[in-house]
């Protein structure tokens, strides 16, 4: 039975017209219609929180899509952590990171000499060179970090470094390719790669020019 199968009086009653009433004999049918409409409308009147709760309750009882261990690992999980545990973990992380980031004092600081260091000048006569650099144990053999500059004498390249007292092996690097020993060094020693390194010992009064 549909609404249109009822009499016009009962239809007006169902439409909510003031003063209208169901025809006798159709009262029960009219009440069933009203109950059905009320049930239908209740779904729209339900508070939103209730819907969410029902949905979440349903999800909690659902198995993860992929199932098993992997499903548990990738599914969102509620984690309860005590603040003290979180704080300790954060402190440990900070400690580890800070230790990783701690840079040991270099054997040869970049520019400024400090107490206990001596300024040492290196020179190379290389008139044909386009670039001259200095690489050695004082800069972890970086062939680009210490660049010599042309001096007042034509062809003479120089650089002055602050060095701590001690022994250093080194070579000049000409045009980024040729490694050249310093005959003015204290000695030449084998480098373990089939070549020779120059060696100096820096004392409190610097290096004696030989």
């Amino acid at each position: 039975m549909t609404k249109h199968d009822l009499s016009s009086e009962t239809q007006r009653f169902l439409d909510g017209e003031p003063g209208a009433g169901p025809r006798s004999g159709e009262r029960d049918a009219a009440v069933r219609f009203l109950d059905a409409m009320d049930t239908y409308a209740r779904g729209f009147r339900e508070p939103r929180g209730g819907l969410d709760d029902r949905v979440m309750a349903r999800l909690r009882h659902m198995r993860p899509g992929r199932g098993g261990l992997w499903g548990w690992l990738v599914a969102p999980q509620a984690v309860r952590v005590r603040p003290i545990v979180l704080a300790l973990a954060a402190a440990a992380l900070v400690l580890v990171v800070s230790q990783r980031l701690t840079v040991p004092a270099p054997v040869v600081p970049g520019v400024a000499p400090t107490p206990g260091m001596v300024l040492v000048r290196f020179e190379l006569l290389a008139p044909e060179a386009r670039t001259v650099a200095l690489a050695g144990s004082f800069n972890s053999w970086s062939s680009e970090a210490i660049v010599l500059v042309p001096g007042s004498t034509p062809g003479l390249w120089t650089v002055t470094l602050p060095l701590a007292l001690g022994s250093y092996e080194y070579l000049f690097v000409v045009d980024g390719q040729r490694w050249i020993a310093d005959p003015g060094a204290h000695a030449q020693v084998e480098d373990g790669f089939g070549q020779m390194n120059s060696v100096i010992v820096v004392g409190p009064r610097g290096i004696v020019r030989s």
Partner: protein, 242 residues
């Protein structure tokens, strides 16, 4: 999943992470080598070798620097590793000599200096004698390093060590001993023969040699193409003199 399984899983993963960390080479050495162009395989090999050396009490940085030197010189990876491995062996041998001399837990600087002295021809017996004659780790490492360099300058090997011992016996400080190679170079530049330099060193006389900052003696360097001239004297270079 029960909490027990989750806990067990966590423990297994943590154990695996710890094991991996223990087996992996030191991040610093490996990263440094990779940053300087080493292949991952070489970085791993050298990194592990450096880590093992550190455990043995050897100066790890000396080994890392040797690898960096090889990379800078574009040596093949196998050559770099061979050089580092060889240096590790000689460092281990030097550590043994140092321990025989009575330093039961030698610092890395002492081991490295002993290795230099031995590599430059100073005998193990001379190294032991020199260690016993010096007081303190700084004096020992300086003495060994200077003895090695004097030998590299041409002095007779045993005389090189004896010259350092003599200086310490005369009450010289480690800083004064550091002057010996410069003074030997100065005497040679003044025309003294190696035997004469050796004699003066053993007699404890070299420290009376005039310094060039008082009386320059070096001839101007030759002006040949790409001829390295010299290492200048420092502190400070404002004198206008090398």
């Amino acid at each position: 999943m029960s909490r027990g399984v989750a806990l067990l899983l966590t423990l297994v993963l943590a154990r695996a992470a710890v094991s991996a960390a223990q087996e992996a080479p030191p991040a610093d050495a490996r990263a440094e080598l990779l940053a300087r162009g080493a292949t991952p395989q070489l970085a791993d090999q050298v990194g592990r070798l450096v880590a093992d050396a550190g455990v043995e009490g050897l100066p790890a940085k000396t080994l890392t620097d040797k690898a960096l030197e090889g990379l800078a010189k574009n040596a093949p990876p196998e050559r770099v590793f061979a050089a580092v491995a060889g240096l590790r062996r000689t460092l281990a041998a030097a550590r043994g000599v140092v321990i025989e001399a009575g330093l039961t837990s030698p610092p890395g600087a002492v081991i490295a200096a002993a290795e230099q002295a031995l590599a430059r021809g100073v005998s193990p017996a001379s190294v032991r004698d020199l260690i016993r004659s010096a007081t303190g780790a700084e004096a020992v490492s300086t003495g060994l390093m200077v003895a090695g360099l004097l030998a590299a300058q041409g002095l007779e090997r045993s005389a090189a060590a004896q010259a350092v011992e003599r200086a310490y016996r005369d009450g010289r400080s480690a800083n004064e001993v550091l002057e010996l190679p410069s003074l030997a170079a100065l005497m040679i530049a003044r025309g003294m023969t190696i035997p004469e330099v050796t004699r003066r060193m053993l007699a404890g006389q070299p420290l009376a040699v005039e310094r060039p900052d008082v009386a320059p003696v070096a001839a101007p360097p030759s002006r040949g193409t790409d001829a390295a001239t010299t290492t200048g004297q420092g502190r400070p270079p404002t004198t206008g003199k090398p």
